[in-house]
């Protein structure tokens, strides 16, 4: 079979004020029709830039393609003019992006967005275009294409939007589909469906697919060929079975090892202890629907206990109410009824002011390390704020305490005067963890603290959390959509669906013999 796309010695540099960044350094790969090539690497490895540069999509300046060829359909893309590239992008090569929430125009119905290219590029009539759009929606597995056609983007979940994005990508019948981390923002069960859909389309239409991901596990069932990239260079390439079964390069081994697997080493049974640190009984939290005014129960009659020194996992998809439960326990969201007993004291009815003394003893780690740090405060100020507020340190002791926190979370002390934007996602999450443990709390609620991170970073952060829980005798409610991640950390687990706990028990027994259908579906969906 001939190659559909052949990239040879592609080299892209970014000429920044601080010097030349070799984003893509002498990279070659080929994609054949009917084959999926996975490009895997951490963020910053150049995996996206290599695809964007051959499509003329890198910002230039500072980006510049220094050398290389990219043969597609009998011509070199790197020598094509912007107008030619635009033609190719619209018709022969299509892309799917990571975030389906922002890639649809909220002011146009799904149908309007789908038929736009058909009318403008393919000169179809409105009726023909609409007909084609409906059949495409059907192809990407949308059950009611007629209704979807007239719907607005905000009426869809992330998974549905990604399906619509795929339909949009397919509209011009491309020969090559480039998917840039298309499932990273999705839940595991949805991710599985989207991966299956991509595979189905690839086989059905016999097209080439480039699948970009940071996670080797995701591409395992999908890829025919795998290219592993690190700091702009290809470190390993080969067909999928050989990469997964006998990787050569240390970095590939590291990526494989970062896939969460195994269970917590020192699993001890803590359920029998008499005085739980936290005891939640029949908690109900409702939200008003913005349009109808009806209240729906995000947390519906939930009870559980958390022992001292225990990490309790809380698993569920987005919309299951797991984050709301975490926020309700910390009284960041107001619950309607039920009781929250923290260390023997009822805190459910406390006012915001009466709650303040308890804040020192219970903290939260948030999902998005980009949003959870004040961009105008230095790391020093962020870490010092809780210490000063609760009068835990002053003057020289404050400096010492802040620097010790930096040591605790594994950041160099010299970084303390920098601002959040100067750090990577993993480093920011370390800072956020530092802030959470600054007051030496007894309870920490971690809301998907690793979901926004690359797998290798994810592994480091999980290890850090385990270390800190042990060192400071923390009790933790660990919220995640990923059972495999929870298994690494937790002794016990609760599975939530639509505001209710559908299953709970010791991690290992849930993992090996799930009782509820939903738990089983979650386990199966894990890549």
């Amino acid at each position: 079979m001939t190659a559909l796309l052949e990239v040879k010695n592609l080299t892209t540099y970014f000429h920044t004020r601080n010097g030349v960044v070799k984003a893509v350094d002498d990279v070659s790969f080929t994609v054949k029709s009917g084959e999926t090539l996975a490009i895997v690497g951490e963020s910053g490895s150049g995996k996206s830039v290599s695809c964007y540069s051959m499509l003329g999509l890198i910002p230039s300046p500072p980006g510049r393609i220094e050398a290389g060829e990219a043969w597609f359909d009998g011509r070199d893309l790197l020598k094509a003019s912007q107008a030619e590239l635009r033609q190719i992008r619209g018709s022969k090569i299509a892309m799917i992006f990571q975030d389906p929430m922002t890639s649809l125009n909220p002011y146009l119905t799904v149908g309007e967005q789908l038929i736009e290219p058909l009318i403008f590029h393919h000169k179809l009539s409105r009726a023909e275009a609409a007909e084609k759009a409906r059949s495409l929606l059907q192809e990407v597995g949308i059950r009611d294409p007629e209704k979807t056609y007239h719907a607005w983007p905000h009426e869809f979940s992330g998974g549905m939007r990604q399906r619509v994005m795929i339909a949009m990508a397919l509209i011009a019948e491309p020969k090559l589909l480039i998917a840039d981390e298309p499932t990273t923002a999705l839940d595991v069960t949805i991710q599985k469906q989207i991966l299956e859909l991509v595979k189905e389309i690839q086989q059905h239409r016999d097209i080439g697919v480039i699948f970009i991901s940071h996670d080797l596990a995701v591409v395992k069932d999908l890829a025919d060929q795998v290219v592993v990239m690190k700091t702009g260079r290809v470190v390993e390439r080969g067909d999928a079975p050989s990469i997964f079964n006998c990787p050569d390069h240390d970095y590939t081994k590291k990526l494989l090892a970062a896939i969460p697997a195994g269970s917590k080493a020192s699993a001890h049974d803590t359920a029998q202890m008499s005085h739980p640190l936290l005891s939640v009984n029949n908690l109900v939290t409702t939200f008003a629907d913005r349009h109808s005014g009806d209240r729906f129960k995000a947390v519906d009659d939930i009870s559980f206990e958390l022992q001292r020194g225990e990490i309790l996992g809380l698993v569920g998809e987005s919309g299951s109410g797991k984050s709301t439960l975490g926020r309700s326990v910390l009284k960041l969201a107001q619950s309607d009824s039920g009781s929250i007993v923290f260390d023997g004291e009822e805190i459910q009815d406390l006012t915001a002011k009466a709650m303040r003394p308890y804040r020192r003893r219970m903290q939260m780690i948030f999902q998005d390390p980009y949003a959870s740090l004040n961009p105008r405060m230095t790391i020093y100020d962020t870490l010092a704020e809780p210490l000063v507020l609760h009068d835990l340190a002053k003057g020289p002791q404050l400096n010492k305490a802040v620097l010790e926190l930096m040591d605790d979370v594994g950041l160099a002390r010299a970084y303390v005067r920098k601002y959040p934007h100067e750090f990577s996602g993993g480093q920011r999450q370390r800072i956020a963890i530092g802030r959470a443990i600054a007051t030496k709390p007894e309870l920490v609620i971690a809301d998907e603290p690793v979901s926004a991170l690359d797998v290798t970073i994810q592994k480091q952060i999980l290890e850090l959390i385990l270390h800190l829980v042990d060192k400071h005798h923390l009790s933790m409610l660990f919220i995640s959509h990923d059972l495999a991640v929870v298994r690494v950390l937790c002794d016990r687990v609760m599975v939530m669906k639509q505001g209710r706990v559908v299953e709970s028990g010791l991690m290992e027994s849930v993992w090996s013999s799930p009782q509820h259908d939903y738990t089983e579906a979650l386990l199966k969906a894990a890549p």
Partner: protein, 311 residues
């Protein structure tokens, strides 16, 4: 390591004298380096520094006017009449034979004071009002913003005339009245900023640390909303200066023989064809001042944006 500790305590020592406040959070604000960092960055921006230098020069000149002005502001020389610039009168004289340079300097005292005081009033009320409305939300927000809408809807002239009737003609009242109208837009801008900022997780993190609402507004929300506030402030200053000229022209502001830049310009327009210097020099002074303000404002906005490069 020890070097860094030293520099930390140094930074604290140098700023501690500025805040004499005592409660625990303020005590700790000594370590906040947003403003000292901003100053370091501003110092590297030649355009902003030039602007700052020019403003300081103008302000000093106007402040010292009674001592440095070559003539009195109402000193007439009817025999001379309007004369073009000459060695005796550097910028010429007006139709009453009054020295234009002197009148520009005296006018600057009024104009700069209006700009400074009215804008400060607008800033203080607007930022506080908008931040509280945006952060608290709900009914409080609705009531506060409807009040803003009501004042918006009041015809400005009637409002000013009413104030003048009740309190009599008073320069300070004029400053206050202008400020009391200009804060409305500021409040809306800040409210919008705060509304989007408060959805961010770092605000929730601040709540879970146990900060009070007021501390969250002051330490987390306002510093992040500063960019648009500074830009709008640099737009407010010229607009209140022109507003003063307008009111004075209508006879509500300051009265001849006193002057302000706005008044000088509006008289200059009337005699533009015969005596162009009466328009050119006051106009030039105002334009240069506004340029300087804008350069400084842009520089400040960039300096306060920590994400801008730090090299």
């Amino acid at each position: 390591m020890s070097e860094m500790l030293n520099s930390t305590s140094e930074a604290q020592g140098s700023t501690s004298s500025q805040s004499g406040r005592v409660d625990s959070i303020n005590e700790y604000e000594k370590g906040t380096s947003l403003w000292s960092d901003a100053w370091l960055r501003l110092k590297k921006n030649p355009l902003a520094l030039t602007g700052l230098g020019f403003l300081v020069f103008i302000a000093l000149a106007c402040l010292c006017t009674p001592w440095i002005a070559p003539y009195g502001y109402e000193e007439q020389n009817l025999l001379l009449g309007a004369s073009p610039p000459s060695p005796q009168h550097w910028l010429g004289t007006d139709t009453f034979g009054r020295d234009l340079l002197t009148r520009i300097l005296y006018g600057g005292r009024v104009s700069l004071m209006v700009g400074l005081i009215a804008t400060s009033v607008a800033l203080l009320i607007g930022v506080t009002w908008g931040a509280i409305a945006g952060f608290v939300g709900g009914k409080v927000d609705a009531v506060m913003m409807r009040l803003v809408d009501i004042i918006y809807a009041l015809p400005f002239m009637i409002f000013i005339v009413l104030l003048m009737v009740v309190f009599g003609r008073n320069l300070w009242l004029l400053f206050f009245a202008i400020g009391a109208v200009e804060w409305l837009t500021m409040a809306r801008i800040v409210r919008g900023q705060v509304q989007s900022l408060k959805e961010q997780e770092f605000v929730e993190a601040a709540i879970s640390i146990g900060l009070s609402k007021w501390a969250i507004i002051r330490r987390h929300l306002i510093p992040n909303a500063l960019g648009p506030v500074i830009v709008y402030t640099t737009l407010t200053i010229p607009s209140v200066m022109l507003l003063e000229a307008f009111l004075s022209f209508l006879g509500l502001g300051i009265q001849p023989p006193q002057s302000s830049w706005g008044l000088l310009i509006s008289y200059g327009v009337e005699s533009m064809e015969e005596y162009p210097w009466l328009l050119i020099y006051p106009g030039l002074t105002l334009t240069l001042t506004l340029f300087a303000l804008n350069f400084l404002g842009d520089g400040l906005r960039d300096a306060l944006d920590v994400r801008a490069s730090k090299d």
